[in-house]
């Protein structure tokens, strides 16, 4: 079966009385790299956080690999999932944050090994080998024993990517992964992400890096004010935007 990896149907989300997602319809195919762009406050990060249930949606349907996020469906009725079931669902979904959120009291390799050992109960030596391989892959094979405070922002974010990958997810979510980085460090993180895309990982990337979106993205979504304004092939959306809001946004960032 090759259904969509992520499917959102009329997803709504309120924070108090403000509606931040106003009916999102999206589909992400396996191995697809989807980039989501849009002004701040457009709801793109919130939508991303809904996909792994860091935020709960208020209405609509959201599923990952054919499974509803956060709910079980039984005879046409929805049952809220227990924390444990939500955790099991999250095993398949890796997430990379804007602020890296590495665990500062653990070394780089401990950061990477923590979840596979604790959450999946995997064998320590197996995980250690995989973690080291991932560190090599993100170009930090020598820095496994360094604490996050001893690494540059770009290095920290690469460790964070390796940490998410060590859970062997089917889907990777990137929440503005380069926005907190000094300009000269952005490239090294994008390189790792580009390589990951080439390896066939399904990725959803909330970003301001239009160059990355054009080169690496299979699809581009422009969100504004809680709705998907425009979606399509990156080149087409970027070169020939159809909506005035897209045009206005692109004229500011390009």
């Amino acid at each position: 079966m090759t259904g969509p990896m992520v499917k959102a149907e009329q997803v709504h989300k309120w924070f108090g009385r403000t509606e931040v997602l106003k009916g999102i319809d999206l589909e992400v195919a396996p191995r697809e790299v989807m980039c989501i762009v849009g002004p701040s406050g457009s709801g793109k990060s919130t939508f991303l956080r809904c996909i792994n249930h860091l935020e709960q949606i208020d209405s609509g349907r959201l599923s990952v690999d054919g499974e509803l996020v956060g709910y079980r469906e039984h005879g046409g009725k929805l049952y809220e999932m227990r924390d444990k079931e939500v955790a099991t669902q999250r095993r398949d979904i890796g997430m990379v944050f804007q602020q890296f959120n590495l665990f500062p009291h653990m070394t780089a390799i401990q950061n990477i090994m923590e979840a596979p050992i604790r959450a999946k109960g995997e064998n320590k030596t197996v995980v250690r080998d995989r973690a080291q391989a991932l560190l090599d892959r993100v170009g930090l094979g020598e820095r496994g024993k360094a604490y996050p405070s001893q690494l540059s922002g770009g290095q920290q974010q690469r460790v964070a990517i390796a940490r998410a990958l060590c859970m062997q997810p089917k889907l990777m979510l990137f929440d503005e992964p380069t926005s907190a980085l000094d300009p000269e460090l952005v490239g090294e993180v994008l390189d790792v992400m580009r390589q990951l895309a080439l390896d066939g990982m399904t990725m959803i990337v909330v970003t301001h890096e239009m160059g990355f979106a054009r080169e690496v993205g299979d699809s581009l979504v422009f969100m504004d004010d809680g709705v998907v304004v425009e979606a399509g092939l990156p080149r087409e959306v970027l070169v020939n935007p159809q909506h005035t809001r897209t045009k206005a946004f692109l004229s500011k960032v390009l």
């Binding site: 955790a87 890796g94 665990f103 604790r118 959450a119 405070s149």
Partner: protein, 309 residues
């Protein structure tokens, strides 16, 4: 136009330092003089005033009853702190729980135990028998399976432990709660996104980071606890203060024994302060790039430098 900022080879000698007359501080010298005179007067009195009775102090400071008192003080401190920290962790997690019943129960506990003097609590535990003569285990409001006389169930040492430990738990829970709240929310989010459970997140990610905020005040609490154990003399139970007072009143040498007790407390709190330094250093790892040297390491560096000279 060419700007050349890189120092050229061979010409990188340091420029001459500024030569200037430093600011004088006459006030400091006056203060030093005054303090020196006061210290000299006090030290002189130590030797000339016979009421200090150093010989008597020395002959009693290491006597068996005093040493037993020291031992009781030490283990009471440790036991009460362990109880306080463990119960404090539970209370702080209850306080932060989304369940309103749990969080208000913790709030109520903290309100009562922080709001009453620990001396009063200690005496209440010791006198609990006059409130509830018997304590029974059985069906609530129904028949009892076991029944104990309160006096036997809570001996004086038990009252001392309960009084100190339960009171400490209230303070520790607030310290731990502040520590937990000080950890960035992104940490728990990252842990959840990595599929770690709530308890794993708390134990492996949040609490270790909270420790940096929790350890310094806990050290203070431990030092404070060591001194607070002296209140146990009124339970009564034979800790250090009780023992020195007993000797003092038996021999009519009350004052020298107060000094003996003070010196013992001072010695023990000094040891704790050193311990606290190293524990704080341990939990600082990962948050500072290079740990500062310990005093012993600094001494070693200085000695090796001296050797090289």
């Amino acid at each position: 136009m060419s700007i050349d900022t890189a120092p050229q080879a061979g010409t990188s000698a340091r420029p001459d330092p500024i030569k200037a007359v430093p600011v004088r501080h006459p006030g400091r010298w006056v203060a030093v003089g005054v303090i020196a005179v006061l210290v000299a007067m006090f030290v002189n009195s130590l030797f000339t005033n016979p009421n200090w009775d150093w010989g008597f102090q020395l002959s009693n400071a290491f006597s068996a009853p005093v040493l037993r008192g020291v031992w009781v003080t030490i283990w009471l401190t440790i036991a009460a702190m362990v109880m306080g920290v463990l119960l404090g962790i539970v209370l702080s997690i209850m306080r932060l729980s989304p369940n309103p019943v749990l969080s208000s129960a913790a709030w109520l506990y903290i309100w009562v135990f922080r709001g009453t003097p620990v001396l009063v609590q200690l005496v209440i535990w010791a006198q609990l028998g006059s409130l509830y003569r018997n304590i029974s285990l059985g069906v609530p409001f129904g028949p009892a399976w076991f029944s104990f006389e309160t006096r036997n169930l809570i001996p004086n040492v038990g009252a001392a432990l309960l009084g100190l430990g339960l009171n400490e738990a209230a303070y520790m829970s607030e310290i731990i709660r502040a520590g937990i709240l000080s950890v960035d929310e992104g940490q728990s989010e990252a842990a959840s996104a990595l599929s770690l459970s709530r308890m794993q997140t708390l134990r492996r990610i949040v609490l270790p980071q909270a420790m940096r905020v929790v350890v310094p005040p806990t050290g203070n609490e431990t030092i404070s606890m060591l001194k607070t154990t002296s209140l146990v003399a009124y339970v009564p139970y034979y800790e250090l203060f009780f023992q020195t007072q007993a000797i003092g009143s038996r021999t009519f040498q009350v004052f020298p024994m107060l000094i003996t007790a003070s010196l013992w407390y001072l010695a023990m709190t000094s040891v704790l302060m050193v311990g606290q330094y190293y524990i704080e250093r341990y939990y600082a790892r990962g948050s500072v790039r290079t740990l500062p040297l310990t005093p012993i390491q600094r001494l070693r560096v200085r000695l090796t430098k001296a050797e090289l000279r």
